[in-house]
Amino acid sequence: MIDVQSIRDAARDLLTRGEVRAVIGYRRGSRGMLAEPVTITDPEQADELVWDATCFHNLALYLVEDRKALAHAQRTPTLPIAIIAKGCDARAIVVLMQEHYFKRDEVYIIGVSCEGGGVLVEYKLARLLNGAQALSAVFDGDELVVTTAAGEVRLPASEVMADRCLECREPFPKEHNVAFGEDKTGRQLAAPFTALGRFEALSAVDRWAFWRRQFERCIRCFACRSVCPMCYCDECVVDSITFPVAPDTTAEEKANRIRWIERSAVRSENITYHMTRAMHLAGRCIDCGECERVCPVNIPLRLLNNKMELEARERFGYEPGASIGGPSLVASFRDDDPGQFIR
């Protein structure tokens, strides 16, 4: 188990010595046990940092936000920014660096291993607690220690953990400047792609019936896109509201811009949006599961991204977030790529 004090000390030292300009981490949120993302710039604030089973967020997103803010302010900082990264977050940072979004020396990665745990899912926990309000939740070995008003409860970790954490093979951030916790790479609490395998066994008719229902429910809030560290484009192809309008943009240009799909939240447009997103994330999605977590109507978006990940691994031997210098999935090829479908 990681002592949260060691993470706080590391953050404080980095800020005191002036090695980084800020630390992105988690602090206790204003609602019960949940953690929330925080950026600290003052060593005094280091004691606010927390590390527990509610640190859901993929903080790599805030590196992207930081980058965008800097570009907007036209500033080039001299110091790197530090970030607390789980295994999946570190893979996301690797993908961003692979795409030259920032350089390795511009970010200081404080790696934290999830060890035998991961993050919990609120609804799973609520079901097990029978309505009791959890005040804190920390993984200890293969158990989750939950504190409620009535006292301490120990629950089996596998029953409250997120699916993606159960399927995770890399709970340790391979890319790091400093790391805390035990390296448990290769641990597998559930077979990878379990949900996907179950889904793919369905017939084409049933698969369509499933997705049809799911995509009819999408309200196009774009939460999945907002929370995704890989969705960093300034202008999104599916959302014409981000069409850059300059003072010299004519009305005709505005009216005639390409609209690949419409913004209305109807099934056909929703499905095109989600499939486009899945394609754009092929070979880049590191399965942090944030899109699925933030979805207000609970569309199982991980299935789409997992499908691309599975194909990348099985057909092309490609693992997203494995190396900074390696080629990307769709910008590389091999002579023996599958081509039997081509006439």
Binding site: W208, T276, K307, P338, R343
Partner: protein, 143 residues
Amino acid sequence: MSEEQAYEPKIVAFLCKWCSSAGSDLAGVSRIQYPANATPITVPCSGSISPLYILSAFNKGADGVLLSGCHIGDCHYIEGNYLARRKIYLIKELLEMVGVEPDRLRMSWVSAAEGAKYAQVVKDFVADLKPLGPQDKLKADRT
């Protein structure tokens, strides 16, 4: 209209300008008879076909999408068709996963000298699309 018209699938064909586009021209000047269902769109390279082109074509009412480029090893840009092969494989898998008939998306290699092959590819595609009926899964309802 008293008689109901037979269903004719609408095909959007993205053709590489260096080969398949010239191949379709050759089919024309050679007076080869083939179905008129395909609307050709010339693209600079099969590797330049974004998956969004395909999804958008289905969204706007295509019953089938045909992609055609140079044979492996013959790409004008050396590696464009290798990249296309990978991308199209992925989008085909994704369509199948969502439950859209994967037969609605077809890819072929047609060189500038293969007018007869282009005609055959279109003929086969139309024949395969007819039993599937109109595509209404990705098609936008604009009524």
